[in-house]
């Protein structure tokens, strides 16, 4: 064997070894930081819409509304979930699929970058991308961001390959993944201007490459997101942003056409710097613009630019630490950087501690199975759930409970107190054991407070205005059996109001002593929430305690009503959600000290 082939073989072996290391490291790390997936209302909504498709056969090519008013998500994420649901996959399988996509994205980033730069820089970029995935994507959550990782890496990577090789196929692949990525999250649209610009700038035959790219883009986008595309285009056409956007595209094409000869004469490094700027600057500028306009923005909305940003960061670090003149300090500095990176990754996994109060899929599935076996319909659950973070639990249960039965199951069931984990000692109630999670206390309670017969009053809270309350009965509206859609369960609510915040929300709930208790302890829960609920009035019933209060003791022998009040004000209470649902409470016996402490600790 001559020296040249053996060197080539060694190089290839080294490349495969690094690829295997990056892949295994990504997999190990993602498995390490991935506990049972936390479900939030957005996740539950997506699961419900996917159930419409997989169980009822109603598959829409549009997803949920985006945070940016007027725009809709595509349908690819929902249909991908529906695909898994149709083969009886559960939430853990969906999570495993997401992890697989993320691991593949790290591996592909390495593969694409190593065509152009050294294995070290490519591996470093893949690790930086991995940490961005964990930190920015809220890895423990399952939502449409989770599915975007692979499409954006492949789009960015194919663009890189296009600029270095000028092959039309690479441009088409980039456009295809951008289109499919938009089916997951509309944020991927930020790659479109870069693709249009580079089709004009760098293609050998722009007249062929540009239409081919557009065709590939539409081929990926329309089958899964036709309706979302239509809605978004119509919104843009009707909005003030439509014209500036078109003018911007026109200017982009003209500038790209004018700069084509200069671009083609530039060195390879300069060309790639232009590409990096074209991918990174528009989303960065867009986020800044949205931030200045007061929209809710997070760095995860710049996902599409992050693979390119990771590559730039890796190159800068490599040049800074490992240039020939600094070869002596290079490895040490690189080691230090790697240590810092791992520390950062470890720190990001701490985000789970913040989120651990959320309900997981495993808990949702187990509780839903028990409730269904006990004859609780989704309607009954909406009214009869007590315990901390009850609204969040209802949103999760919505994703698991079966469609409404015909005839309807009764709504007049006892309340259920569900608490995680149950306090030590022998408290009455049964326990549930969700796989991989702490046990749960489930206790049946004959409630003294009858929410189904209460009313809610909304008082506008603007200074100097009429503050006459608008009150409506909390009427139970059972789910439709004919024409039922799971998606109607998204963001469950017990009443509607058109009043815009700030306003005061007041629940007036009748007291009906039930069971053999002489006294009943009423707790208002979820004290961590801003602008929390308080008991502000008791009329006609005997009670102990000073109002306003978080808890009080009701005495048997009278009947009346209890008033709960909170302020809904996104300015005074940032992060507060308008939930249109009852306050989260728990009813206990006054002598259950341990249980009371456990409730207060949540």
């Amino acid at each position: 064997m001559t020296a040249a082939p053996s060197a080539a073989l060694a190089k290839r072996t080294q490349w495969w070894l690094v690829l295997a290391t990056v892949t295994l490291l990504s997999l190990a790390w993602l498995l390490l930081v991935s506990g049972p997936p936390d479900l939030i209302a957005d996740t539950a909504r997506d699961l419900l819409m996917a159930r419409d498709c997989s169980e009822l056969g109603h598959c829409l090519t549009v997803g949920a509304k985006t945070s940016l008013d007027g725009f809709y998500q595509g349908g690819a994420w929902l249909q991908s979930i529906a695909l898994l649901q149709s083969i009886s996959a559960g939430i853990r399988t969906i999570q495993a699929a997401v992890i697989a996509l993320e691991v593949l994205s790290c591996a592909f980033l390495y593969v694409f970058l190593s065509r152009w730069t050294s294995s070290f820089v490519s591996a470093l970029a893949a690790l930086i991308w991995l940490s961005a995935l964990c930190y920015l994507g809220d890895h423990s959550l399952l939502w449409n961001h989770s599915g975007v990782a692979l499409p954006v890496v492949l789009a960015d990577g194919a663009l890189l390959l296009f600029v270095t090789t000028r092959r039309t196929l690479a441009l088409c692949v980039a456009a295809f993944w951008t289109g499919l990525g938009m089916g997951f999250h509309v944020e991927c649209a930020v790659l479109v201007p870069a693709e249009v610009a580079f089709a004009v700038l760098a293609a050998r035959r722009p007249r062929v490459a540009t239409p081919a790219m557009l065709l590939a883009f539409l081929l990926a986008l329309l089958p899964t997101s036709l309706e979302a595309t239509r809605a978004n285009l119509l919104f843009l056409a009707g909005s003030r942003a439509g014209v500036p956007l078109l003018v911007g595209v026109a200017v982009l094409v003209v500038v790209a056409a004018a700069g084509r000869s200069r671009f083609l004469k530039a060195r390879g490094g300069t060309q790639l710097a232009w590409l990096a700027a074209a991918i990174i600057v528009p989303p960065a500028a867009g986020l800044l613009w949205l931030e200045l306009r007061g929209h809710l923005v997070a760095l995860r909305y710049a996902y599409a630019a992050l693979p390119a940003a990771a590559a730039v960061a890796a190159v800068v670090l490599d040049r800074g630490f490992c240039s020939p003149s600094r070869r002596a300090i290079g490895p040490g500095a690189a080691g230090l950087f790697a240590g810092a990176l791992v520390s950062w990754l470890l720190w990001t996994s701490g985000s789970r501690a913040v989120l651990s109060r959320l309900w997981t899929g495993s808990e949702g599935k187990t509780i839903a199975a028990r409730l269904d076996a006990s004859g609780y319909s989704y309607d009954a659950v909406r009214w009869h759930l007590q315990g901390p973070r009850a609204w969040e639990l209802i949103t999760v249960l919505a994703a698991y409970l079966p469609p409404p039965h015909s005839p309807q199951l009764p709504l007049d069931k006892p309340d259920l107190l569900i608490l995680r984990p149950p306090p030590a000692g022998s408290e009455p109630g049964s326990s549930l054991h969700p796989p991989g999670r702490p046990p749960l206390l489930v206790r049946s309670i004959r409630p003294w407070l009858d929410f189904t017969r209460g009313q809610v009053c909304i008082l506008p809270a603007r200074a100097g205005r009429d503050t006459e309350p608008r009150c409506t009965k909390l009427a139970t509206r059972p789910e439709k059996t004919a024409g039922f859609r799971f998606r109607s369960r998204s963001y469950p609510r017990l009443f509607d109001t058109t009043t815009k915040p700030p306003y005061i929300e007041r629940f007036e709930i009748p007291v009906h002593p039930a069971g053999s208790d002489a006294r009943r302890f009423i707790h208002v829960l979820d004290a961590r929430e801003r602008c929390r609920w308080l008991i502000t009035g008791v009329h006609g019933a005997r009670y102990h305690g000073r109002l306003p209060a978080r808890d009080l003791v009701l005495e048997r022998g009278g009947s009346g009503d209890v008033t709960f009040t909170r302020r809904v004000d996104p300015v005074a209470c940032p992060g507060q959600l308008e939930r249109y649902t009852r306050p989260s409470i728990a009813e206990t016996h006054p002598d259950e000290v341990r249980l009371r402490r456990a409730l207060e600790a949540r």
Binding site: V62, K65, A82, T224, A250, R487, R493
Partner: protein, 177 residues
């Protein structure tokens, strides 16, 4: 290259002009007459008297805005869907967003008016783009599109397969060089 740039500029200029036209508040004749019909019906039924009538109505994806003339004064009212996204797919009903102080004593009338409008719009599809544009589009483009389960799942499967296959082809052919 220059020809391509010129061609794209022409197309974009046309689109810009088109978009500007769509953005104008002038409605095409058929849409205008449709809304006038609704306004007339509501005005007739509402019986607010000669002093009170709907003078203008505009429809946007998220809301319907009305101009109401009451006792010689013009008032601007918004009708919104109070529900969340899913509710908009399920059912539609309107409720007024109004200043309680300004409209004190008129609420029952306003609620009735909202009910009448609700009836008038019952046949409207759930997604209402800007009126002028909607009127110019074929009917199928304003209806929600539902795919059959098999078709939807096949399409999403195919998208992944085509994407991964083309990427593999791209990388494989590159590595052969």
């Amino acid at each position: 290259m220059r020809r391509l740039a010129l061609l794209m500029c022409c197309v974009l200029a046309l689109l810009v002009v088109g978009a500007r036209t769509h953005g104008q508040p002038v409605l095409p004749a058929s849409a205008q007459s449709g809304f006038e019909q609704v306004m007339r019906a509501v005005n007739q039924q509402h019986r607010l008297g000669t002093a009170a009538r709907i003078t203008d109505m505009s429809i946007r994806p998220e809301e319907v805005r009305l101009e109401l003339e009451l006792e010689g004064k013009h008032h601007d009212l918004a009708l919104v869907h109070p529900g969340s996204w899913d509710r908009r797919l399920q059912s539609r009903y309107f409720a007024f967003v109004y200043d309680a102080h300004e409209w004190q004593g008129q609420r029952a009338e306003l609620d009735r008016l909202a009910g009448l409008l609700d009836q008038a719009f019952t046949s409207t599809p759930w997604f209402i783009p800007s009126t002028s544009l909607r009127d110019r589009l074929p009917r199928w483009t304003t209806q929600p599109i539902e795919l059959g389960r098999g078709l939807a799942l096949t399409l999403v499967c195919l998208s992944w397969v085509i994407g991964l296959a083309s990427t593999g082809l791209l990388l494989f052919r590159r590595s052969q060089r």
